[in-house]
Amino acid sequence: MRGYLLRRAWQSLLTLVLATVVVFLGVRALPGDPALALAGEDRTPEALAAIRREYGLDQSLPVQFWRFLTNALQGDLGTSIRTGQPVSSMLRTALPVTLELSLLAIAIAVVLGVGAGVVAAVRRGRPAEWVANALALLGLSVPHFWLGLVAILYLSVATGLFPASGFVPVSESVAQNLHHLVLPAVILGTGLSAVIMRQTRSSMLDALSTDFVRTAEAKGLRPRAVIGRHALRNSLIVVVTIVGLQLGGLISGAVVTEQIFGLPGFGKLTIDAVFQRDYPVIQAVVLVTASSYIVINFAVDLLYSIIDPRVRVTGDAS
């Protein structure tokens, strides 16, 4: 168990370092001289040289990388070219919006996905399974940003049931906050639930055909207990992995949804930074996305070994 966790921790750390290198080199591969972008109007050679000195752009790449790394570890991600604000404080205002949206979406997705998955597995070959399968296929095939557009068109603009765009922080009004987030969260969540449903269904089918479920049935347990306590509990192990991966992907996957609903989150920050060539922000956004994905992945592996004793013994999570 300890060996397995150490190996996973080492692998995650290695991936994290590699990701940092890729981000660093990737931003430097972008066309355009950052000194020119930073200089604004004052483009005299002296001004450019001063900027290069100030930002360390005249140093060798390894030196620049070291500086980038040590600054980032201290929470200093540079200054936005566009707003002049520290990037870290921009992230601090944008991240909570995306996190709240992601957690709401995941909660909706788990409830719908696990529920539908269990129904599809238990009612195998009946109409309920057909409906659940069809809905999951639809969920996989619908472009969610389009669903968002249609929802705004028919639920916000036409009827005024939900606000079409904008965001209210929880600190100002919980009700208003939820009112703004319900629609985007439902739309994101239904998409994710399709994947969860399919996974739950197939794991449940596996679990329902195992000996321990047959034993539980044979000793006269009520079906509800057999399904809930025995089959579902074992199926959830795989579902946890999927949910973890989705959460990691949502940090950036919510980009389009945020764009459509005008939510001032991480996605909007990303898109604005890209279109305005705000290099320090792009760099920070990619770094945060990649590292959160890696960290969540590692956390899922940890969780996995806690839920499933077999992982601890054999050290194999796959």
Binding site: Q11, L14, T15, L18, A19, V22, G26, A29, L30, P31, L137, L138, L140, S141, V142, P143, F145, W146, L147, L149, V150, I152, L153, V157, A158, L205, D206, S209, G248, G249, I251, S252, G253, V255, V256, Q259, I260, T270, I271, V274, F275, R277, I282, V285, V286, T289, A290, S291, Y293, I294, N297, S318
Partner: protein, 297 residues
């Protein structure tokens, strides 16, 4: 696949494959969902190939006397947009672009992912390196990759396709790797090795042909994902550039006048959904036909 059938495949692999192929075809023909989705896909591909001939108007052709005409307007079956461009023509050419991007993306993902997956599954030493690379790629979600790609190389159909393809490589590597691992432990591979076959020979003649079904299924999953990916990128302005028709740019454009002309916002999305749904349904049927045991369970 049981060991017995695997063994019988060694001396006469061609006929065995052929009979498996016809078995799969027979199962597909018996599944109404497979038949319907296959028909939809055939129509879509034919329409895409002959798009310029089939579209009633040139997709960029504006008609300012007929802006925001609703569906059913004579001459404009699905209506027009804010510039009077024919929605049907733009959907036809947009679908063609979607399929082009999807084909190019999945081709990219397979060309890079399949060999890497085979090598990772077959050679232990290469596995850890390739697995780290896969982890690294996964850490950069699709949109971030595509955004970076568009920023460095510019936004275009080809670049969008390559970015989507690169994002799909880890998925291909994973399934091919695990199938190669499984096949490697089977007796017919051991027999080939004992017989003195080189690693390259075993990979090409024994592992790759047997991994085809996994690759096929992965491709049918990847195509609809790529279609949705193209729509997202073009919607954000990072894919196909206007005025070239793309289902994603049509949606982005329609956002401005959606309340007055909902058809311009609804129809391109429906087209994306039908394309993706047909591929997903066919992919599911194909998986069931290739592995009926997984279905019966």
């Amino acid at each position: 696949m049981s060991v017995d059938t695997a063994l019988t495949q060694v001396p006469a692999s061609a006929p065995a494959e052929a009979s498996q192929g016809s078995r799969v075809l027979r199962r597909l023909r018996r599944n109404p969902l497979a038949v319907v989705s296959f028909c939809v896909l055939t129509v879509a591909v034919v329409v895409a190939v002959f798009a310029p001939l089939l579209a009633p108007y040139a997709p960029e052709q504006t008609d300012f006397a007929n802006t925001l005409a609703p569906p059913g307007t004579p001459g404009h079956l699905l209506g027009t947009d804010d510039l009077g461009r024919d929605v049907l023509s733009r959907i036809i050419l947009g679908s063609r672009a979607s399929l082009q991007v999807a084909a190019l993306a999945v081709f990219t993902a397979l060309v890079i992912g399949v060999p890497l997956g085979l090598v990772a599954g077959y050679f232990r030493a290469a596995d850890s390196v390739i697995s780290r690379l896969t982890d690294l790629l996964l850490a950069f979600p699709f949109l971030i990759l595509a955004v970076g790609f568009a920023a460095i190389r510019g936004a275009s159909l080809g670049n969008a396709a390559v970015a989507i393809g690169i994002a799909q490589i880890p998925g291909v590597i994973r399934v091919v790797r695990s199938d190669a691992l499984r096949l490697k432990s089977l007796d017919f591979v051991a027999a080939a090795v004992v017989d003195g076959a080189s690693d390259l020979w075993v990979l090409r003649r024994h592992i790759l042909p047997n991994a085809t079904s996994v690759v096929l299924v992965q491709a049918t999953v990847a195509i609809p994902a790529a279609i949705l990916g193209e729509a997202v990128l073009s919607f954000l302005g990072l894919g196909i550039q206007p005025p070239s028709p793309s289902l994603g740019t049509m949606l982005a454009n329609a956002q401005q006048f959606a309340a007055r002309a909902p058809w311009a916002a609804v129809l391109p999305g429906l087209a994306i959904m039908i394309l993706a749904l047909a591929f997903n349904v066919f992919g599911d049927s194909l998986r069931d036909a290739l592995d009926p045991k997984a279905n019966r369970r």
